[in-house]
């Protein structure tokens, strides 16, 4: 079980970090999430969540390369830790288990 409670937004970001691998940094995650979710995502909210996840120890960061479209500023590249990965996995499993308990017929009736 996770020792720290994760909100769904943070869980989503944790997943994104895992998905994006070498390209996981603030702006990229924000843009990617906007495309996935189809709604506006606030950059500062993403940053705050990333910092918190790093504090808990689910992700770690290093300072990476600079590109032209960021005005020469370096990126902070995040990568998921083993702890993060296991939390993500256990949460996903828990959810699937619970999902299985939902009576499928009821859905059709209503």
């Amino acid at each position: 079980m996770p020792k720290e409670f994760l909100r769904d937004f943070e869980e989503l970001i944790l997943t994104m970090v895992a998905v994006q691998q070498e390209n996981a940094y603030g702006a990229a995650i924000t843009i990617e999430m906007e495309q996935w979710l189809g709604r506006k995502v606030t950059l500062s909210a993403v940053h705050v969540s990333l910092y918190r996840l790093e504090d808990i120890g689910y992700i770690k960061s290093k300072v990476g390369g600079a590109t032209n479209e960021r005005g020469g500023r370096r990126k902070r590249i995040y990568s998921i830790t083993n702890a993060g990965l296991s939390v993500l996995r256990s949460m996903k499993e828990k959810r699937t288990e619970i999902w299985k308990l939902v009576p499928q017929l009821k859905l059709i009736n209503s």
Binding site: Y25, G26, A27, T30, I31, T42, L43, S44, A45, H47, V48, Y51, R52, V63, A66, T67, E69, R70, G71, G72, R73, R74, K75, R76
Partner: protein, 900 residues
């Protein structure tokens, strides 16, 4: 975009932790560039701004490490400790600083209290901003003759018919506050002062929010209606419901008529220029919509939102021009709109409802408040900078260790803050003590702090805060200019620059003290002069009574009988020498003031000179010792058996004029005027031939402060216009005895009327009330200014003397006498005072001239006004500094030299 705009960079740097800043900046730029491509430049920019501000969240700025701040909090505690030690080290200086600031702050806030009261007039109506009074200007050959606060009786109707932009218009006629209103309720007789307004039902529409009970539209619709103030309702009816109660008051027909209370209004607060306890409907004769001859109604309008008052008055004057064809009186008149809120401070016209305030006085008071505060601040700066020699080492060590300029500034600010907090605590105590006595000092009827004008208080606090910060930082800036290395080597001392600044600040203090003292002196002399000026009449030992039936409608014969009884009774008593009756007594304004009242020929053109008519008996001239320059007094009255109208008796068609009046009529000498026949309008539109039988010397009837107006004395035989009785008491009999005799006579004549009397001397003296208050305020506050200044000088001398103690000792060893040493030590101060005198003299002259120019009778600005304040200041400074100089000069030099 390659980098962030300046503001956002500053914002983000301020809120983001340093180690995260670069990545946040990069992400923002990247997203912006991405969005420019996807959603367009304008939208991207907007989103960028929003995104920047979104970083203002606890999740971001709480990530900043606080270690640095904790460190500086420790330092702040240390600063407090140092400040405490610093204060304790030099208790004398601390005391001087705290006292000076406390007194300064107290004075500042007291004056602000006065200023805010004066500026808060007439702002309590719900629509104060839209109310205007329509004033009337009278021109003669296109030159402004007089402006009056009353306007024509027909104006109301003209406006309500032709001006859709005017929400409501009202006009009222005010019976002065000192004229009693007679009525009866439940068999009790009342004679209530406080003023009565005759007005129409729109009154409570213009002055909205005043009516507490009753309906504004109908409260004054019937003749028998009366609306009373809350306090009056309480007085008459106690806890009973006042609405619908009946009172009986005398009417024109001679008997009593019922009036019904149809409304209750809020008491007018002290900061209102209108005061009244009763509001009744207009009398029928006041309602004439075609009344364009006499201006007798105070007319107020409330404009609908968004209308320009200029436009209204322009249009109004076009009407006036058109109507002047029909009414020649209107030919050279103009109307203008006065904002209600500006009346108290800016309007000084004829027939003002009350004595208005003075804008200049308010400005001057604010200036004094600021000056006192500045003097107190200067004290602090001077004392602090003077002692720098002692602190230079401390500051140098701090700087060498690595304290930054802002740290030092903070340290000095905290020291100042400690002094300020102590001073404010002391000031609060002082205020608590003074506020209850405040109304005596300023004449303002308040006994607790009023926050009625938040904007003024805001400015006052802003001044205090900004000034305090500047004053607190100044010593730090001063010290930072020192080179720490040389200062540590011991080569410091008073830099010449610092001394110059200090000296110029002292000159400012001295000049301010000189100017304030001189102002007090000028006021005092002018007041003395006005009180002692030859008023050309005799007002000692005179008791005056008001005829309670003067304007009531009792039978004239009865009124006459009552007067005869009173006079006979009075003359029987030994303490009374003489009795006279008249329509006004010296010190009261003469009510019968009209233009176009007196002509040499019935066909003479309209003349805007305002003549004042005083109705007096044949005793009046000898009673007041007026000098007849030519001609004779009125004839003695013959016994009245039955009432005859004055104009039907030839004896009554006589006039006595004063010098100004005959000049206004164009006579060259009093002799020339005597026995001439003139046309006198003894009632409206009715000119009748009158004979000038005498000319009296001009005398100051209304007030010494005012110009003497053209005056007509007309006989008041019978009971006609006997409003005041003047009684000259025997100077040898005691006042108590005289008053008692008068009371007995009064009871015989008016058994059911309350007895009220006043001594004319005191009554006439009332006109100087505002001058006296001004003088008192000025004396107190200039006293405070001088006191704070002296405190500063005391401190500076204390410091100077101790700093120069060694020099003095050496001089003494070398043979200098005590006297020469005292001279040496005082020389600086004397030089500064002389310099201040040079600065202050032209200012004093200017201020004195300006103030005196408002009085028709005034003193000349004499050299005394410059010399006496200078002498006072010299003496005070000498006194204050003498303690230390004498002590320093007379100590044994060995005591100070052996320590070397």
């Amino acid at each position: 975009m390659k980098s962030l705009p300046g503001w956002s960079e500053r914002l983000l740097r301020a809120i983001c932790p340093d180690e995260l800043y670069e990545q946040i900046e990069g992400d923002l730029i990247e997203i912006y560039n991405y969005e420019v491509k996807t959603v367009g430049k304008r939208k991207a920019k907007l989103r960028f701004v929003l995104a920047c501000f979104r970083f203002l969240r606890p999740g971001i700025f709480l990530r900043n490490k606080f270690s640095l701040k904790i460190n500086s909090i420790d330092m702040v505690f240390s600063y407090f400790k140092i400040a405490y030690r610093h204060l304790m080290n030099s208790k004398a200086f601390a005391l001087i600083n705290v006292t000076g600031l406390a007194v300064g702050i107290t004075a500042f806030f007291l004056i602000i209290q006065y200023v805010s009261f004066e500026m808060s007039y007439d702002r309590f109506y719900t629509n104060s901003e839209n109310i205007y009074r329509i004033g009337l200007e009278l021109y003669k050959k296109s030159e402004l003759q007089t402006s009056s606060s009353k306007n024509f009786g027909g104006l109301k109707e003209l406006i309500s018919e032709n001006f859709p932009e005017v929400d409501a218009v009202t006009g009222f006629y005010k019976t002065p506050a000192n004229t009693g209103v007679f009525f009866r309720h439940n068999g009790k007789i009342y004679n209530e002062l406080g003023g009565k307004l005759n007005t129409d039902s729109t009154f409570f529409k213009v002055f909205s929010g005043m009516l507490v009970k009753g309906d504004a539209a109908t409260a004054l619709s019937e003749r028998h209606c009366i609306v009373v103030s809350e306090s009056m309702a309480k007085k008459i009816f106690g806890d009973e419901e006042p609405m619908g109660q009946h009172i009986q008051s005398p009417n024109d027909a001679g008997d009593e008529s019922e009036r019904v209370i149809t409304g209750v209004f809020k008491d007018f607060p002290p900061n209102s220029h209108i005061h009244a306890n009763f509001v009744v409907p207009l009398e029928p004769f006041m309602k004439d919509g075609n009344e364009w001859r006499q201006a007798f109604l105070h007319t107020y309008i409330s404009l609908k939102e968004g209308n320009n008052p200029e436009a209204v008055s322009n249009r109004l004057n076009q009407f006036y021009r058109k109507m002047a064809v029909k009414y020649p009186e209107m030919k050279e008149t103009k109307s203008f709109l006065q904002p209600l809120t500006s009346i108290h401070l800016s309007s000084q016209m004829q027939d003002e409802l009350e004595v208005n305030g003075n804008k200049n006085l308010v400005y001057i008071a604010s200036a004094i408040a600021l000056i006192i505060l500045i003097i107190a601040w200067i004290n602090y700066i001077n004392l602090e900078t003077a002692r720098f020699a002692l602190r230079a080492r401390e500051v140098s060590v701090r700087r060498v260790i690595g304290s930054g300029k802002s740290d030092l500034a903070l340290q000095f600010l905290i020291e100042y803050f400690c002094v300020l907090v102590l001073a404010i605590a002391l000031a609060t105590l002082l205020m608590a003590f003074i506020i209850p006595r405040f109304s005596y000092l300023t004449g303002i009827p308040i006994d607790s702090i009023q926050w009625s004008q938040p904007s003024i208080w805001l400015i006052a606090f802003a001044v205090l805060v900004v000034g305090s910060i500047l004053v607190g930082i100044y010593p730090a800036i001063f010290l930072l200019r020192l080179n720490p290395v040389t200062a540590l080597k011991g080569k410091f001392g008073n830099t010449s620059g610092g001394r110059t600044i200090r000296k110029s600040l002292i000159v400012v203090q001295f000049s301010a003290s000189l100017i304030l003292t001189a102002c007090v002196l000028v006021m005092h002399s002018q007041l003395d002069f006005m009180q002692s000026v030859d008023k050309k009449f005799d007002l000692d030992n005179v008791v005056t009574l008001r005829n309670p039936t003067a304007y009531s409608s009792e039978e004239v014969i009865e009124k006459h009988t009552a007067y005869r009884t009173l006079e006979n009774k009075l003359m029987e008593s030994a303490s009374v020498q003489m009795v006279s009756s008249s329509s006004a007594i010296p010190g009261t304004e003469i009510g019968f003031t009209y233009v176009n009242l007196l002509k040499r020929n019935i066909n003479d053109p309209y003349d805007p000179t305002r003549f004042k008519t005083l109705f007096a008996d044949y005793n009046y001239i000898p009673f007041y010792g007026l000098k007849l320059l030519a001609g004779r007094n009125f004839d003695p009255p013959r016994p009245v058996q039955k009432w005859i109208d004055p104009w039907d008796d030839e004896n009554w068609l006589t006039l006595i004029l004063n010098e100004t009046a005959i000049r206004a009529l164009g006579f060259n000498s009093p002799e020339e005027a005597v026995d001439k026949i003139v046309e006198f309008e003894n009632f409206e539109d009715h000119f009748q031939k009158h004979k000038i039988i005498g000319v009296v010397e001009d005398y100051h009837h209304e007030a010494v402060k005012k110009e003497i107006s053209p005056m007509i004395l007309s006989p008041n035989y019978g009971s006609f216009q006997q409003v005041y009785y003047s009684i000259r008491i025997n100077p040898t009999s005691s006042r108590e005895q005289a008053v008692d005799d008068i009371r007995k006579s009064w009871t015989a004549a008016f058994p059911d009327k309350p007895f009220e009397y006043s001594f004319l001397y005191d009554y006439y003296d009332q006109q100087f009330k505002s001058e006296r208050y001004t003088k008192r305020i000025f004396s107190v506050f200039s006293g405070i200014a001088v006191f704070i200044g002296c405190l500063g000088i005391f401190g500076i001398t204390l410091f100077d003397v101790s700093a120069r103690q060694r020099e003095i000792s050496i001089r003494k060893v070398l043979g200098a006498s005590v006297a020469s040493l005292i001279g040496l030590l005082s020389r600086d101060n004397v030089r500064l005072i002389v310099l201040s005198a040079i600065v202050a003299t032209p200012l004093i002259y200017f201020v004195a001239q300006k103030w005196l120019s408002s009085y028709p009778m005034r003193i000349v600005v004499s050299p005394m006004f410059f010399v006496i304040p200078l002498a006072i200041l010299l003496l005070l400074v000498a006194f204050v500094s003498s303690f230390q100089t004498i002590k320093a000069a007379s100590t044994n030099p060995i005591d100070h030299l052996k320590n070397e």
